[in-house]
């Protein structure tokens, strides 16, 4: 068990990241910059693949884009500038997370909107149904109820 714990500890000290197609000759010498490059690559789409990020894809185009990202980082661009550069070159298609804009507003707004609308609809439906099915008692029925229940104090069962 101790060995496993050490393994997990060692794990924690390593760079945590999921799967990729990065080649050894692409890796930058500065680990911090490499980490930035990896994080950015995960947000960028390989444009000849189906929904894969350039970090995941083996395609030659993906490799070119990975090298381009690293070039821009090495040239001193910030993360936002790298993304802007790529969007200016290739269009919005290269982003895996669509930017919030006029065209994509519906896309981002729909999930929380649907949840809220659904919840509201259910609440209204439940209240309407309960109101409809519980009719108030007439005075005669009230008297009858009182007579049945009597003057006994409420008993805990």
């Amino acid at each position: 068990m101790t060995a496993r714990r050490f393994a997990i500890l060692a794990l924690a000290l390593m760079l945590a990241s999921p799967a990729h197609a990065v080649q050894p000759d692409e890796i930058m010498s500065d680990p911090a910059k490499e980490a930035r490059a990896r994080a950015l690559s995960r947000e960028l789409r390989c444009m000849v693949c189906q929904n894969q990020s350039i970090d995941d894809s083996d395609a030659p185009l993906a490799r070119d884009l990975r090298l381009l990202v690293r070039e821009r980082i090495a040239a001193g661009d910030s993360d936002a500038q790298v993304i802007d550069f790529l969007v200016a070159r290739y269009g919005q298609f290269v982003l895996l997370k669509p930017r919030l804009g006029g065209e994509t507003l519906l896309l981002w707004v729909l999930p929380p909107l649907l949840l809220a609308a659904g919840a509201a609809g259910l609440a209204i439906h439940a209240r309407r149904r309960r109101a409809a099915s519980i009719a108030p008692l007439t005075p005669q029925e009230e008297e009858k109820l009182a007579a049945l229940v009597g003057d006994e104090p409420p008993q805990k069962s």
């Binding site: 760079l15 945590a16 990729h20 050894p24 895996l96 997370k97 669509p98 896309l107 949840l115």
Partner: protein, 663 residues
């Protein structure tokens, strides 16, 4: 055997489906037993003929009969026998044939095992099933006929896509289709009930086992596909939010909601509208999935067909079945009687919340998948919607749902007590907090959200078993008594606990693998070493081999841990001559439920070979959790109330007689 036999069988099956579409439904309206019985015999015969057609196609593949165009395009005489057989469904026409075969299979199963259904309901169900079958037989015979011939037959076939020559992938489509197509029965039940104008708790009881079977297979199919992607595609990813993956996830989510709705309908005769709509929706999503994959609207390793005629035909099928069923629902819905009332905080309320979250999650995936298509069609702009979007929208929904999962079984019907449930979940909550603490302790300095994910997973697993603990009296009574009580519990209670626990197990695997996997990407020469996660790998050498229809480059690694040699990893790259493509075969070493994963990259000119090595902790739990969910489903399926039908009239009469005699 001439492939024409198969072709003719298919046409006969179509004819039977046409008869089955009309006669039993007419019989149900007129209450004519003879006409209704036609449905049963045509179902069985239709299945037999579909089976013959499928069998003939399989024989053509096995015998490498290159007079059949489909075999020429998708097979090769040098392929191993297993892959010749699985190649039958590794292409568009063959997989559509498998689709209708399973459709006919489920119809036949209803005919065989539906003896306890009222005759009119069964007749209507088989009739609706036949409508679907007719549409698809016409589609196959019209646009995707696997039995088209070539004259003169070419001497050799074109190889199957090598990426598909894999045992995991061989199993994936049949499992998935059993799931997708199985939901057609739920759809048929829903439409039949709407036609009859009668829907009640008994209907929910009959629908549930069929839905459960379909759901189980779909779970297995999705898990298999994900595991296949993990070890085959070479980079250890297992879910890409690929539109085709989403197309299988959506019916799964809707099917889960349907299962839970049917439970409420069975017990309390409530949630009729939800159950009906979900039954229609689930199969509609299956049909939509078929359209997305088959029409070539989206290209992927899955889509075989890029013929627009096929796309239009399926779109027409979609419009008819989805539009028609919703129109029928709109017409008949006012006739539905209101079911049992319940307080908002109760088991029904919890299941309504469950439905809400699942439906919203399904809608999120739907929107994310189809938005780029719609936007491109409307404005011409191309955008991408990928994992980052779904992580932000789908993730939180599911997290909220998982928090609520352990509460559901602990709330009472009609009027539940949340505080009481919370008290009973204290042990589970404590376990969850311990999980968070342990995860923080082990990974101090790592990502912050992940330990909460671990805690949530532990909470779900322990919470799932809290209900069983309550009912069996453990630990108040001894272990022996508790076990006996557990054995006497209805199996569906056991099934619920196991299935929910499976969900927690999957979450555990997902959090662990996403957060704490580590990797090394290096270029190695023979004799060089690389260290990862406490293991040390040494490249012993690279060997070239010749396989049955490929050339292979294998790299041998010896794996050491703490100085002791524990095994070997042998990742390779295969190049297929006939198709001019190559694939990577990753090497996996399983250590408990974690895995070491190695895959090869390119060779450098100086003889070094690029290699990617990953350590993925607890990754197998992702798919083991799915298997656990299916086990829960099996337990539920074996529940006594699904095996024992209503008492037969003869027994009731005999008891009445005995009672009279005793007086």
């Amino acid at each position: 055997m001439s492939p024409e036999v198969g072709h003719y069988s298919l046409i006969l099956a179509l004819t039977l489906a046409l008869i089955q579409s009309v006669v039993p439904i007419v019989g149900a309206r007129r209450n004519d037993a003879a006409l209704m019985a036609v449905g049963t015999s045509t179902s069985l015969a239709q299945f037999a003929f579909a089976l013959v057609a499928f069998g003939v196609l399989t024989v053509a593949y096995v015998a490498s009969d290159f007079s059949v165009a489909n075999v020429v395009e998708n097979s090769h005489s040098l392929k191993p026998l297993l892959y010749k057989i699985t190649g039958v469904w590794g292409n568009h026409e063959g997989s559509m044939l498998l689709w209708v075969l399973i459709l006919a299979l489920f119809g036949a199963l209803v005919a065989l095992f539906g003896a306890n259904l009222p005759a009119t309901l069964r007749a209507n169900v088989l009739g609706v099933q036949a409508w679907i079958a007719t549409a698809f037989y016409l589609f196959i015979l019209g646009t995707s006929n696997p039995f088209l011939r070539i004259a003169p037959p070419p001497p050799e076939g074109q190889d199957l896509n090598p990426v598909l020559q894999d045992i995991g992938l061989a199993v994936h489509p049949p499992l998935l289709y059993l799931g997708y197509v199985g939901f057609s029965i739920s759809f048929s039940f829903a439409v039949a009930a709407l036609i009859e104008g009668r829907i009640d708790a008994a209907w929910a009881r009959w629908v549930r086992p069929w839905t459960l079977v379909a759901w189980m297979f779909l779970t297995l199919g999705i898990a298999m596909g994900s595991y296949w992607a993990y070890y085959e595609l070479g980079w250890g990813g297992w879910w890409f939010w690929d539109p085709v993956e989403n197309a299988s996830l959506m019916p799964w989510i809707a099917g889960t909601a349907l299962l839970h709705s049917a439970v409420v309908m069975e017990k309390r005769s409530a949630l009729k509208i939800w159950t009906l709509l979900l039954a229609i929706l689930t199969f509609s999503l299956s049909l939509l999935g078929t359209f997305l994959v088959r029409s070539g609207v989206l290209t992927s390793v899955h889509s075989f067909a890029t013929d627009p005629l096929r796309g239009v035909f399926i779109l027409a099928i979609l419009a008819v079945f989805i539009g028609g069923s919703l129109a029928l629902y709109a017409w008949r819905a006012p006739a539905l009687k209101q079911g049992g009332l319940f307080a908002p905080v109760s088991r029904e309320g919890a299941l309504v919340l469950n439905n809400l979250f699942l439906t919203t999650a399904c809608a999120t995936v739907f929107v994310g998948t189809l938005y780029p298509l719609a936007l491109e069609a409307l404005t011409g702009d191309k955008i991408s919607v990928g994992a980052p979007f779904f992580n932000l929208t789908f993730g939180p929904l599911f997290v909220m749902l998982l928090v609520a999962v352990p509460f559901g079984p602990l709330l009472a019907w009609k009027r539940g007590d949340v505080l009481g449930a919370m008290q009973r979940l204290m042990a589970a909550g404590l376990a969850g907090l311990l999980g968070i603490a342990a995860a923080f302790a082990w990974t101090w300095g790592g990502p912050v959200l992940a330990p909460f994910g671990i805690g949530l997973a532990v909470f779900v697993i322990v919470g799932a078993f809290t209900d069983l603990a309550e009912r069996s009296g453990f630990p108040r009574v001894g272990a022996g008594v508790a076990v006996r009580r557990l054995a006497g519990l209805p199996r569906s209670a056991l099934g619920t606990a196991v299935a929910h626990a499976g969900l927690g197990v999957t979450l555990l695997g997902i959090v662990a693998e996403t957060t704490w996997s580590s990797e090394q990407i290096v270029a190695l020469k023979a004799g060089e070493r690389v260290a990862i996660a406490g293991y040390e790998l040494k490249l012993d050498g690279v060997v070239d081999r010749q396989g049955p229809n490929y050339r292979e480059q294998v790299a041998r690694f010896s794996v050491r841990r703490g100085g002791d040699e524990i095994g070997e990893l042998a990742p390779s790259r295969r190049s297929f001559a006939a198709r001019q493509t190559s694939t990577t075969e990753a090497a996996l070493m399983t250590r408990g439920v974690s895995q070491l994963y190695a895959s090869l990259g390119d060779s450098a000119p100086d003889g070094a070979i690029a290699v990617r090595i990953y350590h993925k902790p607890l990754v197998l739990l992702i798919w083991l959790g799915a298997v656990v969910m299916v086990c829960g489903g099996l337990l539920s399926l074996s529940d006594r109330r699904l095996r024992v039908g209503a008492p037969r009239p003869a027994k009731a009469a005999a008891m009445a007689q005995r009672a009279q005699a005793a007086e």
